[in-house]
Structures are given as structure tokens and as C-alpha cells.
Symmetry: C2
Subunit: 180 residues, 2 copies
């Protein structure tokens, strides 16, 4: 599928309500469940998505659209949320994410990006030259991947509870080891 | 996590609205996108979940709760939905699933299952003896696994669009080959 701004924005707009349906008011045993050491629980994932709104996707789009000489992204801190959100509830993170996302999509739409804008580039600190189109497509995939992660992590809490059903429920054995 | 009926039912109740948030009114290019030959697209997944409501989870729970001699499940047809839903829209499947799920959860709650009930068993045609507790836990995991599948399948449509971002978006390379 080629990247197209309208269907991409449609998917980005669905994420806050999807996360609220999955997680709002959910018990702590689900919200704080993970896949083992150094893996994210659903609470962490929502915090990480907030970090993306504040420090990744739109800030990087702004760097590209500023059309400066040699635009370069700052490295992204995958663990900013850990200190930032100590003592918060998952419901408060969900509400914050929804506000940030709505404002960011309003800004994105206000730019009325053209195909020429989408071809503008910047340098990613690890990936090299990327276009605005790559960045916005990665934003969509990042959302979808983290929704998949939340449901996979929750599913795995019942690995023992399903008894002999494990081979018919492949989500239970996806990512047996976290990626290096 | 041990299986407990109230948090399990809470997760099951969230699935219809989660699916509507992800898919209601979505373009056909997302709804009919898949991971290759013999894999499900989001439309297929919702049809498969409808089949589960009509022929799998609650019908099998009823077989167990009937307390007959040698209770045995019928094999489950993973492709029933393909013929059943030709010509339907994804929105009509989402609405049908929501109705079926609500009725099934009302029935489940009306049973007021005890720990003794949850230990009752039946024979699964491939897995052998299973308890009602295993069955209900598998229902929860099945939902979560299929939500993960929908978002993974959608994400993969942008594998080329993200350009050099692929190594930072591991959902794009999950299940490179469909399970046998």
C-alpha cells in the first residue's frame, strides 16, 4: 500500500479510543502485566505513546518542514515515560494521550501537506536520510504495533490458564524472547 | 495470572467496541488487506470472531455444563465465515458481532459459575480433556490474539512506505511466514 495522508490520518485518529476501550478502568493486574524483564506493560506503552506525541513524530515533522540546512533529528528516548509517569493512573495517561493526539492531528491537517512536502528529508541519527512520508508512515505503524503489543502482553498472562490450548493460540508464543 | 471470571469477562466485554474503533467505516484497502495467501484480512477476522460466538465458546460451555456422559466438542470450522459473509460490509459484521457478544456475556453471567463448575471437563477433538476454566481463558486469549492480528496485518501494509524504519518497527517482521 502506498502512503496516503487521509487514510493514514484516519488510522492515527482511531488510536486514543482504541486504547481507552482496551484499558480504561482496567484492573492493575492487567495494566501492569508484562512479558518479562525489560519489557513494557500496557501502562508503559501508553506512556511511551505520550512521549511519541511530545518528542518524536510531530517535533520531527517540524524539523523537516522548517527546511533548514542539514535538518537532523534528536535521538528519541524510549524510556522518558518511566520517570515522568510515576504515581499516575492508566486512566490519566489515556486522557493525556487523547488530548495530545487530537492537537497533533489538528496541526498535521492544518499544514495541508503536498506531495512535494512529503518528499522533504532529514537525517535520522541511526537510519540516515528519511522523508516526511517515511516519518508519517512510521507513526501509523508504531501505533498499530503498540496496540498489538498491549493485546499480546495481556494474552500472555493466561498462558497457564488456557491449559492444553497453547498450540491453537499462537499469540501466546509470539516474541518468546524480547528483541535484542 | 490465574483465571478469574470477573476480570476475564471485563476483557471479553471490551472487544466489540475495540474492533469498532479500529475498523468501523474504515476504507476497503485496510479492511481487505492481508499478510499473503491463506491469511486473514480484518474483515475475515471479524467474521471468524462471529463464528466463535455462534459455534465455539458458548456452545462448548453448554456442552460442559450439560454434565452428560463423555461430553465431547464438535470440531470447529475456521473457515465458516468465508461463504457466510460474502457481500457483507465490515460495519454490518461489527454490529452483528457486538450483538452476539453482548448476548453471550449476559448468558455467561446468568450462569453464576462456581469454582466447581469451572473445573468441569469435556474432550476437545484435538487437545484431549479440557476444563471450562481452560475454555473461558482461551476465549479471552483468542480475542486478544485476533486484535493483535488485525493491527499487525494493517501495519504490514506500510512495510515499504516506512522506508528505512523497518528495523525499529518489529511488528513489520512478526510472523514473516504464516504458521503451518
Amino acid at each position: 500500500m502506498t502512503f496516503d495522508l487521509i487514510p493514514a490520518t484516519d488510522v492515527l485518529a482511531r488510536t486514543p479510543s482504541t486504547l481507552e476501550d482496551l484499558l480504561k478502568g482496567i484492573g492493575e493486574s492487567w495494566a501492569r502485566a508484562d512479558e518479562g524483564p525489560d519489557t513494557f506493560n500496557p501502562f508503559d506503552v501508553v506512556g511511551h505513546l505520550i512521549d511519541g506525541e511530545e518528542t518524536d513524530w510531530i517535533p520531527r515533522a517540524k524539523i523537516i518542514l522548517a527546511r533548514g540546512a542539514n535538518p537532523t533529528f534528536e535521538p528519541y528516548d524510549r524510556f522518558r515515560h518511566r520517570e515522568r509517569n510515576v504515581g499516575r493512573s492508566i486512566d490519566s495517561l489515556l486522557a493525556e494521550f487523547a488530548e495530545l493526539r487530537a492537537a497533533n492531528l489538528e496541526l498535521l491537517r492544518s499544514w495541508n501537506l503536498t506531495a512535494t512536502d512529503l518528499d522533504l528529508t532529514a537525517t535520522h541519527p541511526f537510519l540516515g536520510p528519511v522523508t516526511l512520508r517515511h516519518l508519517l508512515a512510521a507513526w501509523v505503524v508504531h501505533d498499530l504495533g503498540h496496540i498489538a503489543q498491549i493485546t499480546r502482553v495481556m494474552a500472555k498472562q493466561y498462558r497457564d490458564a488456557v491449559g492444553p490450548w497453547v498450540p491453537f493460540l499462537p499469540v501466546l508464543t509470539d516474541r518468546e524472547l524480547p528483541p535484542a
